[in-house]
């Protein structure tokens, strides 16, 4: 394994210190237990808290700041954070209007956030993100939360900033989740620092279709395809899931898993754009880049969100975080 680390055990904590310093205008990092919170807090506003295993950066810590998250709880690499992190984060950022947990649908994340919510004194609610359509809708533990999380967190962040109350935030979050579908393809596995070697081996002409974001295998190993074929394939699943009417306004997000160059991500964006334009969609907003990553995995996912005017306005609202910034 070749990585910039001193030891797997110190990677996360040292990295968080660097993150805090590099973005000291926006965030603070607290330790024991670890959480990242925004510097400028606001009372009377629903506090948004997310979190999950590390290794997906900039998700979630990179989304802490004005117009998005109030706090993020980073677990060890690919390991859900623990309830004490969430409780401390809630204590630090609760502005008196309740806490909304935004949770990607993984057993570990769900159960740890659930324990935190049970132990929390004040009012809280949870929005579960499960946008990965590579799994069937009736999958026994539900679908995974993947790159659509960025969209959910951005839109909810704007809503909370504008004074939506806890119930309205939860309802909006669930609406965004329902309107959002993603699917990803891996060209390589990734190397978890504590493991020291790639989680799985792929042949030189193989790709993994329908992957999550933890370096685990996907639903299917396939032969290497052209970018057009890959886009046709995964866009097809999303299209089938959302079945948007012609003229529907959408947000198209191409998310890199970490090691895929922007040159390729923009190519994928162009192909996906063409795919959906041919199907009559009105692609109003876009997001291309590495937002929900899997360490050093090569690959990418497509996410489509059906937008209504409210969601569009909230998407466009000012945001000032390490990884997403506009309008301020």
């Amino acid at each position: 394994m070749k990585k910039f680390i001193d030891s797997p055990g110190t990677l996360l904590d040292t990295s968080l210190q660097g993150f805090a310093k590099a973005h000291a205008d926006i965030v603070e990092v607290r330790t024991q237990p670890n959480f990242v919170l925004r510097k400028q807090r606001k009372t009377g506003k629903v506090a948004l808290i997310s979190g999950g295993g590390s290794g997906h950066e900039p998700l979630h810590a990179g989304f802490v700041g004005y117009g998005m998250l109030d706090a993020a709880c980073p677990g060890q690499v690919f390991t859900s954070p623990t309830p004490d992190q969430m409780l401390e984060a809630a204590a630090a950022v609760d502005g008196g209007a309740g806490v909304l947990f935004i949770v990607k649908n993984y057993a570990g994340d769900v159960m740890n956030f659930e324990m935190a919510a049970e132990m929390l004194d004040g009012p809280s609610a949870t929005v579960l993100v499960d946008d990965d359509v590579s799994l069937p809708k009736d999958h026994p533990i539900g679908r995974r939360g993947v790159a659509g999380t960025t969209i959910v967190e951005k839109i909810l962040g704007a809503a909370a900033e504008q004074g939506y109350d806890l119930a309205a935030c939860k309802a909006l979050g669930e609406r965004v989740v329902r309107a959002t579908a993603s699917m990803g393809v891996a060209l390589t596995s990734c190397t978890v620092p504590a493991l020291g070697h790639p989680t799985f081996e792929l042949g030189a002409d193989e790709i993994e279709i329908g992957v999550g974001i933890h370096g685990e295998r996907g639903r299917e190993t396939g032969k290497l395809l052209s970018a057009s074929e890959i886009v046709g394939r995964i866009a097809g699943h999303i299209q089938q899931e959302l079945n948007p009417p012609s003229g529907q306004a959408v947000l198209l997000h191409v998310n890199g898993f970490g090691a895929t160059p922007l040159l390729e991500l923009h190519l994928v964006y162009e192909l996906a754009w063409q795919y959906w334009r041919e199907r009559g969609l009105n692609i109003q907003r876009s997001l291309v880049g590495n937002f929900t990553t899997s360490l050093d995995m090569a690959g990418c996912s497509l996410t489509l969100s059906l937008l209504d005017d409210e969601m569009l306005g909230l998407w466009d609202a000012p945001v000032n975080t390490a990884a997403l910034r506009w309008g301020c």
């Binding site: 390991t79 859900s80 623990t82 004490d84 159960m111 989680t199």
Partner: protein
Amino acid sequence: MPLTPAQIPEFINAISAAINQHADEITELDQAIGDGDHLFNLQRGLEALQSHAAEIAALDWPAAWQKIGMTVMAAIGGASGSLYATLFIGLSKHGKDKPTDMRTFAEALQAAVAAVKQRGKADVGEKTMLDVWVPAAETLARAASSGKDLNAILDQVCAAADAGVESTRDMLATKGRASFLGERSKGHIDAGAKTAQLMIAAIARHIRQAA
């Protein structure tokens, strides 16, 4: 010779030794159909317990279980972190105001395992640690209430745990990360089932030696 929390440090060490001895196997299992962190998760939990061992040893059983639960809750993370936290906090809740004999422990364990089922929204047959904990707890309850001698009880519980691990091999995973793989999850035993069995076996071995 009733067990007391004073023995907890030894149990923790025995479990750690067993887990470390099977380190590569555990990682391979969680990598094959999970995400490969299960070993490190447990090791983090065991280290945290080791550093609180003296404190825990001085408590009564319910308080000790509670402290163990809170410690692993904050140290492990992942699915196994919340499940083991639930198990130990469950033992604490259900062991309160009761004598600490084998029968009441067995009852408390069954209740705690039920809490784990609820936390995980899972049951036997889904290729998880429950495929070990459920039969082990049931066997303990049955054996303890039938008045068997300690060694016989331990043998039966260990056998149930062994069979439980093995049963996961051909199962289709419907809970945990392995479930994402669908049919591809078949053919591998579940990492969390394996470590549950290792813990049970380590404790049984330690009790036998101490006896």
